[in-house]
C-alpha cells in the first residue's frame, strides 16, 4: 500500500535527523548549585565582593535589568560607567532603593526632556527576590568594588548576619548598620506576648514599676541601643536573645520605634522606677 511507503519515507527522514543529531557532541547540562548565604564563609573583603557578585547575577536578579558599564539597556539605570553608584550613593539611599524602590523616581537625564525609565524596580527584600540584609549589603559592596574602593567590611556583614551573636559592648556603630524594622502591629502583639508591661510602662500606657518608664528612653535613644538593651544580658534585664525569634525582635522594635515619632504623651508625674544600675 502506498501509505506504508509514505510512512517508511517519513521514518527514514526522522531517523536521519535523529542520527545526525547524535553525531553532534553530546552534553547534558546540569543545573547549578543553589546559593545559600553563609556568613561563616565571609573572611575577607574579597569574599564579600564575590558573594555580592554572585547575588547580583543570580538570585538578586539585578542583572536582568541593570548593566554595569558598557552600553545601557534603556530599561533602567546603568550601575557603572557614567553612573558609578558604588562611589556615588550613600548607604541609606541604597537601602531605601532596595526596600522602597519607588520612593524616589529615577529619571533618564540623557533624554531631553528627561523621562522615566521603562522598568519598575521591585522590592528586593520581599518575594520573589527576598534578599536578607547581609545579602543586600554584599551586593552594595560589589557595586562599590565596580567603581572604586570598597568601604564595607566583613565584620559588618557578619554582624548583620548574626544579630544575636554580637559581642556585648561591641555592636557596630549606628551609622554603619542597616536597621530594618518589621511589622508594628505584630510588634504590639509580641510586646504583649512577652509581658513587657509586667515591668515597664510607656508614658500613659499602664504597666509595672519594676522597670523604668520606656517613653523617655524611646524618644531619646537610637533603635540600635534599644535593641542592645533587650537582647543583651545586663544586671537589670534578662536577655531575650534566646527567647525571641528574629522576626519578633524586628516587630517589637518597629512597634517601639513608633513611639519615637508619636506626639508627646504625658508621663505620670515624677514616677520613675529606680533601676538597679546599668540597663537602659
Amino acid at each position: 500500500m502506498y501509505i506504508l511507503r509514505v510512512l517508511l519515507f517519513i521514518a527514514a527522514i526522522l531517523g536521519g535527523f535523529a542520527y545526525i543529531a547524535r553525531q553532534i557532541p553530546q552534553e547534558v547540562s546540569m543545573p547549578p548549585e543553589e546559593e545559600k548565604f553563609d556568613a561563616a564563609k565571609v573572611k575577607t573583603v574579597d569574599d564579600v565582593v564575590e558573594i555580592g557578585q554572585k547575588i547580583f547575577f543570580g538570585k538578586g536578579q539585578c542583572a536582568l535589568c541593570h548593566a554595569l558599564g558598557g552600553g545601557t539597556s534603556g530599561r533602567c539605570p546603568n550601575l557603572g560607567g557614567d553612573n558609578p553608584v558604588g562611589i556615588k550613593l550613600t548607604r541609606e539611599f541604597e537601602y531605601e532603593t532596595y526596600t522602597q524602590p519607588n520612593a524616589y523616581i529615577y529619571m533618564d537625564y540623557t533624554n531631553s526632556p528627561p523621562k522615566r525609565f521603562a522598568a519598575r524596580m521591585p522590592e528586593i527584600n520581599k518575594p520573589p527576590i527576598g534578599l536578607t540584609e547581609p545579602e543586600m549589603l554584599t551586593v552594595f559592596a560589589f557595586l562599590q568594588k565596580a567603581s572604586g574602593p570598597v568601604e564595607i567590611t566583613p565584620e559588618e556583614i557578619i554582624a548583620l548576619a548574626n544579630p544575636r551573636k554580637e559581642e556585648s559592648g561591641q555592636s557596630a556603630p549606628a551609622h554603619l548598620e542597616i536597621v530594618s524594622l518589621g511589622d508594628a502591629v505584630s510588634g504590639k502583639a509580641t510586646f504583649e506576648k512577652f509581658e513587657c508591661v509586667g515591668c515597664h510602662k510607656i508614658g500613659e500606657i499602664l504597666g509595672g514599676d519594676k522597670g523604668p518608664d520606656l517613653l523617655p528612653a524611646l524618644k531619646k535613644k537610637e533603635i540600635v541601643a534599644i535593641r542592645s538593651a533587650i537582647f543583651e544580658k545586663s544586671d537589670a534585664h534578662q536577655s531575650y536573645d534566646e527567647k525571641m525569634t528574629v522576626k519578633e525582635m524586628k516587630d517589637i522594635l518597629s512597634y517601639l520605634a513608633g513611639f519615637k515619632t508619636a506626639k508627646e504623651v504625658e508621663t505620670l508625674a515624677g514616677h520613675v522606677a529606680p533601676t538597679a544600675g546599668g540597663g537602659i
Partner: protein, 255 residues
C-alpha cells in the same frame, strides 16, 4: 586661483560647521532656548530671567551682537559677562571649534546681515576639548581637613554654599524644594542620596565621570565647590521625588 580655492573652501565648509553647531545646540541649548531658539524650551518656564530669544522676534538684540560677543557668552557663561548666571559656562567643556560652530549656527536663527563666522582651513580652530584634571577622593578629604577647622566654619561655608547655588545659576537646571529647572536631577535630597566626596568631585569636573553630560564645568574654585557641597549635603528633604513634583512619601523611616 588660490584665493578662489580658499574662498570656495571657506564657503563650502560653512554648512558643515553649521550642521555641527546645530547638533550641539539641540543637545545642550535647546532645552532652555528651544528648538528654534525662541527661548521656549521645556526648561524655559523655570528660568528667571527667561532664556534669551535667539530669533530676535521682538527686537533685534542678537543681530546687534558681534560674533565675538556671542562666543564670549557661551565661553564664559552669563556670569562671566555680567548677565544671568543661569546661562552656563561652556568654555571648559567645548572646544574652540565647537563654540564657533555654535555661533555660526546661532547666526542662522535670527535675521543677520553682518559678517559670517569664518572657518579657515589653513588655520583651523582648536578642535580638542579642554581637559580638566580629575578630582580624587583624597583631594576632597584633604580640602575638608584644611578648610574646616570648627563647626562654625562649617556652618558659615554651608550658608555661603546656599548663596553660591543661586549665584552660579545651578537653580537654572536643578530643582531644590520646588524651585528650579528640569534639565538636571532634583537636588532636594542630594544630601540623603549622594556621598559628599562625590558631590564635590562631580561639581568640580562632571566630564571626568560622564563625558557626554549636559552639566557644564562651571570652573568653580575649590572653596566655592566645597561650600556648595556642604550646602547640598544638608538637603535631605524626603518629600520630593526625582520627577520634580512634590510628593508625600508614605512610610519612609526617617533616621
Amino acid at each position: 586661483m588660490l584665493f578662489l580655492f580658499v574662498f570656495v573652501g571657506v564657503l563650502g565648509c560653512q554648512p558643515k560647521q553649521v550642521a555641527e553647531g546645530k547638533k550641539t545646540f539641540n543637545k545642550y541649548c535647546s532645552p532652555c532656548h528651544g528648538e528654534s531658539g525662541a527661548g521656549n524650551g521645556y526648561n524655559a518656564k523655570n528660568l528667571d530671567p527667561h532664556a534669551r530669544d535667539l530669533t530676535d522676534a521682538s527686537e533685534p538684540y542678537m543681530a546687534k551682537l558681534s560674533n565675538q560677543e556671542i562666543y564670549e557668552v557661551i565661553d564664559k557663561g552669563g556670569r562671566g559677562v555680567d548677565l544671568a548666571p543661569t546661562m552656563p559656562t561652556f568654555g571648559k567643556v567645548f572646544s574652540e571649534q565647537e563654540i564657533w560652530s555654535l555661533v555660526s549656527y546661532v547666526r542662522t536663527l535670527h535675521p543677520y546681515k553682518g559678517e559670517a563666522v569664518k572657518f579657515d582651513e589653513a588655520k583651523p580652530y582648536n578642535a580638542k576639548r579642554p581637559r580638566s584634571e580629575s578630582v580624587t577622593e583624597a583631594d576632597f578629604t584633604a580640602l575638608m581637613e584644611s578648610k574646616i577647622a570648627t563647626d562654625e566654619v562649617k556652618a558659615d561655608l554651608t550658608t555661603l554654599g546656599e548663596e553660591l547655588f543661586d549665584e552660579y545659576g545651578c537653580i537654572g537646571c536643578h530643582k531644590v524644594q520646588g524651585k528650579g529647572g528640569l534639565l538636571g536631577p532634583n537636588l532636594s535630597r542630594a544630601g540623603f542620596m549622594l556621598q559628599p566626596q562625590f558631590i564635590y568631585r562631580w561639581v568640580r569636573n562632571p566630564q571626568s565621570f560622564h563625558p557626554e553630560t549636559r552639566m557644564p564645568n562651571l570652573d568653580l574654585p575649590e572653596e566655592d565647590a566645597l561650600a556648595v557641597t556642604l550646602y547640598l549635603s544638608t538637603l535631605k528633604d524626603p518629600a520630593f521625588g526625582g520627577d520634580g513634583t512634590g510628593r508625600e512619601l508614605a512610610g519612609v523611616v526617617s533616621k
